[in-house]
Symmetry: C2
Amino acid sequence: MTTPHPLDDTIALQWQPDGTATGRYPDHYWNMIGPFGGATAALMLNAVVSHPARLGEPISLTVNYAGPVAPGPFTVVARAVRTNRSTQHWFVELQHPAADGGEPSVSTTATVVTASRRPTWGASDAPMPAVADADAVPRARRPVQVPWLDRYEFRPIHGDIPATWDGSGEHSLSQLWMRDDPPRPLDFCGLAALCDVFFPRVWLRRAHRVPAGTVSMTVYFHADGRLLRTCGTDCVLGEARAQAFRHGFFDQSGLLWNRQGMLLASTHQIVYYKE
Amino acid sequence: MTTPHPLDDTIALQWQPDGTATGRYPDHYWNMIGPFGGATAALMLNAVVSHPARLGEPISLTVNYAGPVAPGPFTVVARAVRTNRSTQHWFVELQHPAADGGEPSVSTTATVVTASRRPTWGASDAPMPAVADADAVPRARRPVQVPWLDRYEFRPIHGDIPATWDGSGEHSLSQLWMRDDPPRPLDFCGLAALCDVFFPRVWLRRAHRVPAGTVSMTVYFHADGRLLRTCGTDCVLGEARAQAFRHGFFDQSGLLWNRQGMLLASTHQIVYYKE
């Protein structure tokens, strides 16, 4: 018996006769007070990707982080709200049993669009920035404070997490090569998780560490399954920046390319921050 | 009795004893084969904003256009999936009665996050571009093909809809001043609708008109209600561009500023296109 990859272990679902799926959060991707949001995004997407009624491939994913994800058992309810000829719309809820046996609480919701893709005219207006090759960028080695940081290989090029929190920040742009550790062949769930690895832009912009957490994240998949399979376990280039910080919330936009410069996904999130 | 603004007439809801709301689509915002998607976004948001249990102001809105919106009566079901101390997470469905009396069909879903906002450190890293003032830019006067185009005043600065469809397109950037016609004081619903006024980027990028339609749109509100009230009926500057076109889908990102240069919203969408 082979040991599953930590991400596959985290997003594994047991389908039940009533059409729901159950699972249990292991601690591979634990963050400070709950799991890394990207692992939860992968879990929500997996409830659709692995659903017996799913048609087509993911086009769009929005994950809303509504409350803390409790450790232990959970139920995922994925419902095809509408199925068209070539697109399908899903609503997904992550539910946790109540300690007192009452109504389960919902920690996370998601909407997913899947579709059959066809060859069309195409163009990319978001070229990969000219950066050093992944092999030429040293891997960041920092004292691991939380388990999920150990689940990724980060090779920061620009805008790494500040070394000193001295309030000297001037921009919010980060560029880095990244991949799963241990390596894992890229797929839609792995890509969704990668879209959330960027540390909060407010930390970089201020060089000041404040409590922050993603409230809602959207991923648009430009890659289809065929392109993802060609990526294998190779590094992906990620870039993220913020646009506005105001009254406790900022937005953050990111792009992810494969090593050959093909845009794989664009991603956006709105993030809560304190102070 | 005063006549309501066409947008208010479109998003008007009658709350029912069972907690759902009913309405009826007038034709003020009709597009070619259904209503303008921005009007539907405003309707979905209004089901939360006007909900008796709503706490706080909108932070995030994702609208999924799952199927055609039928003319005539509809029901909106808005459910607070989770209510926290300072945030609330909503799921909204737009339902249309079946002709045969069977199960209603769902044309649109949405998730909304509302929150209490607090003063914090802030910064804007998306400054308004230097453009001509709204008064100096002539209003676009084109033969109106569909009713919704008459519901807005557009003053295009850059990247207007191509005058000739000759395949000469080179970029996807549009900048324009815009506001409701007749004028309407800006609020969250009006702003959500404005986020969808940009014509499909694929038309500009190719100077070639192909069938296209929004599949999912997300709006992050940087403005709070107080800032929106100061905008009144003044013009808003909008900017939109695409990032990648591939296999029948492209993504489009937009920013909206008030005349004083304050960022009001950032918005993203994934759009289906043919050919």
